[in-house]
């Protein structure tokens, strides 16, 4: 059984059905990306995994079924979600944001170690530790969101459009940090991105979504060399 296995996933916003029977899986240690145009259902997929939308079907994480579980309990199983728009707690400090990330971690030493690890990945966050989080730049807030996710020592990290609204150089830096986190911390990743080139560069596997269904899947090499994908999503 795969680390994360999704079968026949349907998701609903009120009466509108956003996902129509999604099937995909993720192996432990890997980075998988979900690509697709606006409205394809990428964000909905991540939200379904975290129990944030009404859903049907089967989602299994490391043998545990996630359907019907509350978000806060799914998180405690070791899944960290870096939400669309970063979800920063804007009125408290950078360090308080990170401390909140460690809400489920016991032990002051563990929390301090986790915080040191995050500051190692981003010295700039350490500089701004006592600054109000809402005054950080976009790139810094994105790094803070990733850091906050890292604080709960996740086995799986869900990332929703981390490159959104960031300058290319910052994005490059961020994605390098993501690669390190995947390598050194052994955190598997499920990445939703509109920037297909970036995503395919980082990920091993990719799924292509269109209006709530998987239309293509394969390794990153296969997907990026596919003619149709190149024309529609990669622009060449």
């Amino acid at each position: 059984m795969a680390f994360l296995e999704v079968k026949g996933l349907e998701a609903f916003y009120g009466h509108t059905q956003a996902l129509h029977g999604l099937d995909f899986e993720l192996e432990e240690g890997g980075i998988t990306t979900i690509l697709g145009a606006n409205g394809a259902g990428k964000t909905t997929t991540l939200r379904s995994i975290c129990g944030m939308v009404r859903n049907n079907g089967s989602i299994t994480f490391d043998g545990n079924s996630l359907i019907g579980k509350a978000t806060e309990n799914i998180v405690r199983l070791g899944i960290a979600h870096v939400p669309e728009g970063r979800g920063t707690f804007v009125r408290i400090t950078t360090e308080e944001n990170l401390r909140l990330g460690a809400y489920t971690i016991k032990g002051a030493k563990n929390i301090a170690d986790a915080m040191d690890r995050v500051y190692n990945y981003s010295p700039r966050l350490k500089e701004r530790r006592n600054q109000q989080a809402g005054t950080l730049s976009g790139g810094e807030q994105q790094m803070l969101a990733v850091g906050r996710a890292l604080m709960l020592r996740p086995r799986l990290m869900l990332l929703d459009e981390p490159s959104f609204g960031l300058a290319p150089l910052i994005v490059k830096e961020l994605f390098e940090i993501l690669r390190s986190i995947n390598n050194d911390e052994k955190v598997s990743m499920l990445l939703v991105e509109q920037n297909a080139t970036l995503a395919l560069n980082l990920a091993d596997h990719a799924y292509l979504l269109e209006t709530g269904r998987v239309v293509m899947s394969g390794t990153s090499e296969d997907i990026s060399s596919d003619e149709a994908v190149r024309q529609s999503y990669l622009g060449y």
Partner: protein, 290 residues
């Protein structure tokens, strides 16, 4: 001059109670975006419970903390049983439930303990402070206990992990759940705290206004005025607003409008602030980009 000082100090004492009510109202408002119209009746009911315990022979120093704990538990239960299920319901549903709760507590208190007024003992001696007649011991006690309680609450929210989690749950519930915080339980905790604060306010004011089911009506209004004046997004502002309203109401009543219009004064204050500066003195103006 002496008269002015007396009015100001007793205004501060009343203001302490309004500050407590204002704080309780703002705490719940920050959590669920709705005004708890039943806050005063909950406090009144708590005070009756305290009175009953004293009738059974328990000493005041024991009754006070026991009543606070019972009220805390009551607040949690009310949130879990009544307001949790209607969390996503429209405003009107909430307003109706609040009014229903108001009526239920009021009638229940009247049914159990009757509507005749009862004296409520003060834990403080009857004498004047330092031999002057500027302020009574009980009034000083009101200010003192309120300040101690407010400091404890501030420290709780500022420096404990649960306090941080409660602030996070109110500020951004989605992100809070994503770090594993049970927003549902943080809400219940908030209600418990608000109920406990209300109980303290009730027990402190009862010696002065006498215990009866309608005793908190006017005080709730002043508390609302304090919350509005201070700003609904700022607990600190609500406290400041409560003290301000207390002093202003007393001075206005003493020098300008006479004591019959003091309650009207509170209403005028609420309407005036909402018209001229809706965010209150210390509140944040929320700007939404469209």
């Amino acid at each position: 001059m002496e008269y002015f000082l007396q009015q100001t100090l007793s205004g501060l004492a009343n203001g302490a109670i309004y500050a407590c009510v204002a704080l309780a109202v703002v705490m719940i408002y920050q959590a669920i975006d709705h005004f708890n119209f039943a806050q005063g009746e909950m406090a009144m009911f708590s005070t009756f419970i305290a009175w009953q315990m004293m009738q059974w022979g328990m000493p005041f120093w024991l009754v006070f903390p026991v009543c606070v704990v019972i009220s805390f538990a009551g607040g949690v239960v009310i949130e879990r049983v009544i307001f949790g299920p209607i969390h996503n319901a429209p405003v009107l549903s909430h307003v109706i439930v609040f009014i229903a709760l108001f009526s239920i507590f009021n009638s229940l208190a009247g049914f159990i303990w009757e509507f005749t007024i009862k004296p409520f003992p003060s834990p403080f001696p009857e004498k004047d402070v330092l031999g002057t007649n500027l302020i009574a011991m009980h009034e000083l006690g009101m200010i003192g206990i309120t300040l101690v309680m407010l400091v404890m609450i501030y420290l709780f929210f500022r420096f404990t992990p649960i306090g941080l989690a409660m602030r996070a749950a109110a500020a951004n519930p989605v992100s809070a759940r994503l770090v594993g915080i049970s927003v549902k339980w943080m809400l219940s905790l908030g209600w418990g705290l608000a109920a406990a604060i209300g109980a303290v306010a009730g027990m402190l004011i009862a010696p002065m206004v006498y215990l009866e089911p309608n005793m908190m009506l006017g005080i709730l209004l002043y508390g609302f005025a304090g919350a509005v004046v201070g700003g609904l997004t700022s607990p600190g502002g609500a406290v400041a607003g409560g003290f301000l309203v207390g002093v202003a109401e007393n001075l206005a009543g003493a020098y300008v409008i006479g004591s019959e219009l003091k309650l009207t004064f509170a209403l005028v204050l609420i309407v005036g602030v909402l018209l001229l500066r809706p965010a209150g003195l210390f509140g944040r103006v929320v700007v939404n980009r469209v």
